[in-house]
Amino acid sequence: MLDRTKAPETYEIDAVTLHEAEVTNLANGARLHVIKSETQPVIRLDFVFKAGKWFETGNGVSDLTAKMLLEGTINRTAKQIAETIAYYGASFEGNHGYDRTEFTLYCLAKHLNELLPLVLDVLQNPSFPKEEFALLKQRSQQNLKLQRQKNNYLATHCFTKSVYGPGHPYIYGFDADAFDDLQLTDLISFYHSHYVTQELEVFACGSIEASTQKLLADEISNLHLQPASKIIPVNKPEIKSAEASYALVEMPDSLQSSIRVGKRFPSIHDEDYLDLLVLNELLGGYFGSRLMRNIREDKGYTYGIHSSVSPREHDTLFYIGTDVNYTVTDNTIEEIKKELQALQQDEIPAEELQTVKNYMLGKFLNDIATIFEQCDRYKRIVLYQLPQNHYNDFVTAIKTITPSRLQQLAKQYLDYADMQTALAGKRS
């Protein structure tokens, strides 16, 4: 007779391996990184420029510059670009980040040859048509109005403003009038100073044959790139955190409040960083976390509560985020305080720590299952200039961390008195 009360035998999670990349330094100064996997007939191509928010000269410049590249080149109209990409069932988009801006092509491997000339044309020869700019600016202004009706947008915007101080590039989102003064010339000069430079990193992954690899190297090295030193240096923006503060964006008709509590964390290169990822997971990183069990599964205040650690190239942001029934806004903040205190006051029980360790190892295994995910990990090592064994160190950190180490970290990093609190919604 099967005993269903007894769990099946379980086995330790083995070491993990990441695919290796072949790196080529191209004649024009760019670098090409290739990770091959034949399992699916697809290719992803990422062009990564040092052209994120960090470098921008005005609000929205990096965002709209990335979008304008697809609005026409000296050889192709916006319509022709959109039609060619669609004809091959591909997708090609520019995404601006805090530090870098990436252009990503997804396509079936058999169509790469037809798409590559268009991709390079978009990156090398944008024509910045006036009429498309006017439309894009209007769409962006309208979309911003829409975003600013969302509690979670306003809460994160307000929170990151408290953490980094007004005007800092690491602030999430935009003020209401952010795009109003934007001129096409701002975008053009941003493009010339930050896009076509020799710091370009290209990541190709998927079903890449030798001939395709050669084609990529040949074609990409035809891009005209200027020496990085010619770029106008941007002063490192200063961080002007407010004192631990509490900010409220009042939304009188809200049914819920969006809450953010957090602070700056040490850089991804810091010796505490990997251990802090384990601490974060315990607190609010997964479904079985302390915050989730208490505030959702015990109190039923919310559909979800999470904490996260987001590294940037020049800083790291930690915060707890949730949307709760507005009548329990203050109660939720009290419960968050209690959970932060508990981690400082008491050692984590061994069984709970074992659960979180195994969960993180299993999740990591699953998170690197596809070639795209493998490439993402590799990209992070390159872009953040991490040691090659970063992810082995991550696995080791998970396997070896102790309850006393976690308690010490909680005392050092999770004191509510050091944190910023922001909320959008209402308190009662």
Binding site: P8, V249, K299
Partner: protein, 421 residues
Amino acid sequence: MIQFKEFTLDNGLQVIVHEDHTSPVAVLNVLYNVGSRDEEEAHTGFAHLFEHLMFSGSVNIPVYDEPLQRVGGENNAFTSPDITNYYLTLPAQNIETGFWLESDRMLSLAFSENGLEVQRKVVVEEFKQNYLNQPYGDVWLKLRPLAYKEHPYKWATIGKEISHIEEATMDIVKAFFKKHYAPSNAILVVAGDVTFDRAKELAEKWFGPIPAGEKYERSIKPEPPQTAPRVLEVSADVPLSAIYKTYHMPARTDDDYYAVDLVSDILGRGKSSRLYEQLVKEQKLFNSISASVSGSIEAGLLMIQGKLNEGVDLQQANAAIEAINQQLMDELVDEQELNKVKNQAEASIVFSEIELLNRAMNLAYGKLLGDANFVNTEGEKLQAVTPQDIQRCARQVLNPNNCSTLLYKAEKKEVAVAGEE
């Protein structure tokens, strides 16, 4: 092409195994043949609330998540009008834990009163977070009852109203479990780094002993044909006015499903589509616009949705959409444009098969539709669509008498006030 083998246990549970040894992970996907269409109109939102309760402990295991996390696994679930689908991913060597957990909650639940009370609150917050406290969040709450008058697709999966969730009792929970959660109403897919023999052995060991239960026979009357246009005008505190148009279309397994799917792509898939190119870029009436199909098992909806630029009149924008629809009814689509949407559809299928979990879900869904191999035949069916099929289906589906239109008017908004303490 997804390879698989299948078998059925004596209790009626259908099992599909898909081996993939490229990565040391495994997936268990359990699809229950129950969705919000199986609810009574007085108790909507129940299939979804029940999905939450499936995590509040089963007969022999007090908490579902913890033992899974302890072996490195993670899980989630979703409910749609047609199905409730549970899935977990874990390191392949610990796959038996997945069988243990999934089989126990198929056998019976703990039916904890406290669990019910907490999940009622959680779901009410989910309702508010996604449907009430978001700009345009309530669109489908309004659009479904406009498009459907009889069929249970007329209410949203989250429920018609919050009170239905607040009023759910343990008796209803128990009856629902008995009616819908028997092995004969479920499909199990085991996928990943596991052999067929091992998967079969574990399925027989853990799921084999579960009593068959009663097979649920669904009897839902089809939605009567729509014979006249329907229009509903509402206003809300949003920055841009919006238009939502739905058209009744054939069921998922109908021969014409693929042609209608391509009709929606020609109209509104991406920046090269007719609606976007003409109404966003050329006529500058819309901020964004797209078209898609609901993909539901029974007769579903083709949907066009767009947000208007400030100052544009709703009637004028609506007429512009209808003019573009009319063009597709009047003129044959050229081969180039048809090939474009076929290539897009082909690429979507290939990309949807990259993740192991998606392959498992696709197999389960195909099996529910009658054939696990369904997913491997879709590419061919799409390629077979002709320009004449497109025109015939466009005339049938885009007929104005088959259309329900929601005009969503932007009201003046209040300005957010920032303050500090």
